[in-house]
Symmetry: C2
Subunit: 396 residues, 2 copies
């Protein structure tokens, strides 16, 4: 189907509006709305964060009923149909006498999924659906993954030399890429709900893992509970810290219902546990972390380590809709082995580190063969200063 | 210094002419020449291969003395001053009454190095030197390296996944990149005098290592002389094969002057050795190869294997002015360890192979640290179909 240049023009503008809140609307999608009359934008709005008004309501509030009458509403996602934290937008649109609504994509949320479009049409509003649909899905790639797979969107980031090394043979990794590149990589954290690393990365690099504009939740996969209490992650914003472990003190066997129920997850936090019990068990470190506000989850370790799919399940249940994995090589390799990575960000410093015992960016078990390993989709390549940035999608 | 747009325009044309013979002029440089009168090109020429006329002579022969009188000669490299396979071009230029000569760079050959420029000026010819000098040096990067360092120009090529793997954990390496990329990589061989690999690559992949337009010389580093007689390299064009080994049959100790002289190199070939001695020594395989036309060089093995710098020395002495290394990871790593690589060609298929035991593109000992590993210079990035091609210079 072909769309008018005018529609494409205004829909692109809704994308730009929507993007302003990138990383801040979770679990909601990014939405921008424009009210256009006689080819003039008379109002605009975007969804700023969960709990605040939806984009179309923002736009509607900023204008008058008289102006809206007979106008066109441009919006990158189907208006909502259901009562959430706000009342359904579809009813507001009908009430305000819009003549036409231009929408990029249907809302994949099963509670909506075309129902709002149908209701608009039944109420006599003209609806054009599908303008820049592919781009609109990509804009909300996290949200679409969430709704369609009931799972967080997962991205893996590496910063490596041209020969694929993330650390030299002596273990040094600071820094392979330039400051400019690292700042850019930091800004990507702002787009994600949480940053995930393996415990070895924490012990070796003692990272902060913060974004440029926000403090994301940090996830540590730490089977043996080796997290140092004096680490940056345990000290700065510990309330933003989630630890997955399988470690249990022998004294805890009677305290933790490890085998109770089919879902072997137990959260220990000051909110839902009796911390005095933990102290009694001598688990001072654990208790200390929990008092600081961190969360600890227990998962039964499997042959290859903690079960990644269950970790993602827990994160999703916690409302963490997107995960940014920052290493190390084994942790990233685990996610690739289990085909749980949606997007890849690779920063390449064009230099050769070399070394048969240097660390390559993706470990794990790996693929047996090479010919049928799938190419990433939508690969983009750009230079950042002296470095090269490559991104793409696995298409899982 | 600023040059006129006209001069830049015509000098760029000499580059294009010169490039037509890329890979075929060794040990001579790539040279293109234009004769321009009243802003019109009245003749042109380029150096097609060693032994054939120089570029300016080509151009001069195609026109008349009358036309040349008062014209300008454009040429990317200083005309020759010395008698080689041809008489000095500088004298031809003076004889033919050129008014002006525009040259990009001085010829780095110690036999020339500005002498021709001086002679032209002393003879009343106006000379403009330095137009697009940097580009002209890059055009003849092999030749400049040869003249300035008395050593072959060395390039290392890898074809790898986004995570730097050249083979999966099971050792498979065919094919990581696409057909289109591999054909392009093949065309790069045409630009080099010889292709170098380690014996493991020969045994594992049984490659041909030919270019698209020419059959280059192939070099195998094979310390234990494991080259299979039925390999492609030993069968197709064995006269183009050079093997470096340290293997010596115990019967050979009395035959080979291994310790005679300071330069521990011995060439065995049907040309300069008594092959009956070898047969007598029971070295049927060696003799077989030599009868086919291959050359075998002996070098004393050092701690890390055969001495790479001596191999390059031998190649240079043989007139092989540029070397294209195609692997494997250990061979390429050796060259990087010894800082003997001038140029890097990396083909990246944006796919993740993964695997802690998969093979990364550059092995060897490697750098101890990462921060001070130098970035490549003049890095170029381009897409070839689905793959990404990155090249750069080490600046050694």
């Amino acid at each position: 189907m072909l769309y008018s240049e005018r529609d494409i023009y205004f829909i692109k503008k809704t994308f730009l509006l929507a993007k302003k809140a990138k990383g801040f609307t979770t679990p909601n999608p990014l939405v921008g709305a424009l009210i256009v009359k006689n080819d003039k934008i008379i109002s605009k709005g975007y969804h700023k964060r969960s709990g605040l008004p939806h984009a179309e309501i923002e736009a509607i509030r900023k204008t008058t009923l008289r102006d809206m009458k007979g106008s066109t509403l441009y919006i990158n996602l189907e208006p909502c149909y259901h009562f959430g934290k706000t009342s359904p937008c579809v009813d507001e649109i009908i009430k305000n006498k819009f003549k036409r609504v231009v929408v990029s994509t249907v809302d994949p949320n099963p509670k909506v999924e075309g129902k709002a479009i149908k209701k608009l049409r039944n109420s006599g509003v003209e609806v054009s659906l599908g303008v820049l649909e592919k781009e609109a899905r990509q804009l909300n790639e996290h949200f679409f993954k969430n709704m369609e797979k009931n799972s967080p969107f997962v991205a893996a980031k590496t910063a490596q030399s041209l020969d694929g090394k993330i650390a030299s043979r002596t273990g040094l990794s600071k820094w392979i890429t330039s400051k400019k590149t690292r700042d850019f990589a930091k800004s990507l954290r702002d787009e994600y709900d949480c940053i995930l690393v393996g415990i070895n990365t924490v012990i070796k690099d003692n990272p902060h893992l913060d974004g440029l504009k926000k403090i994301p939740v940090k996830i540590i996969i730490d089977p043996k509970f080796r997290l140092p209490l004096n680490s940056n992650l345990a000290n700065k914003y510990p309330e933003k810290l989630i630890i997955f472990t399988s470690y249990r003190d022998k004294n805890m066997d009677n305290l933790l219902p490890f085998n109770s129920g089919s879902w072997p997850v137990l959260e220990i936090s000051s909110r839902n546990n009796n911390s005095s019990l933990l102290v009694k068990a001598g688990l001072a470190k654990w208790n200390n972390l929990i008092i600081r506000g961190a969360k600890v989850f227990f998962l039964r370790e499997e042959e290859r380590g903690l079960p990644i799919n269950k970790i993602l399940r827990v994160l999703y249940d916690l409302g963490l809709m997107s995960v940014f994995i920052e290493g190390g090589a084994e942790t990233i390799g685990r996610f690739f082995d289990d085909q749980l990575v949606d997007k890849v960000y690779t920063f390449i410093a064009p230099k050769i580190i070399g070394g048969r015992s240097a660390i390559a960016s993706v470990a794990g078990i790996g693929n047996n063969e090479v010919q049928n390993v799938r190419y990433l989709n939508n690969v983009r390549v750009k230079k950042i200063g002296q470095d090269i940035f490559i991104s793409g999608y696995t298409g899982i």
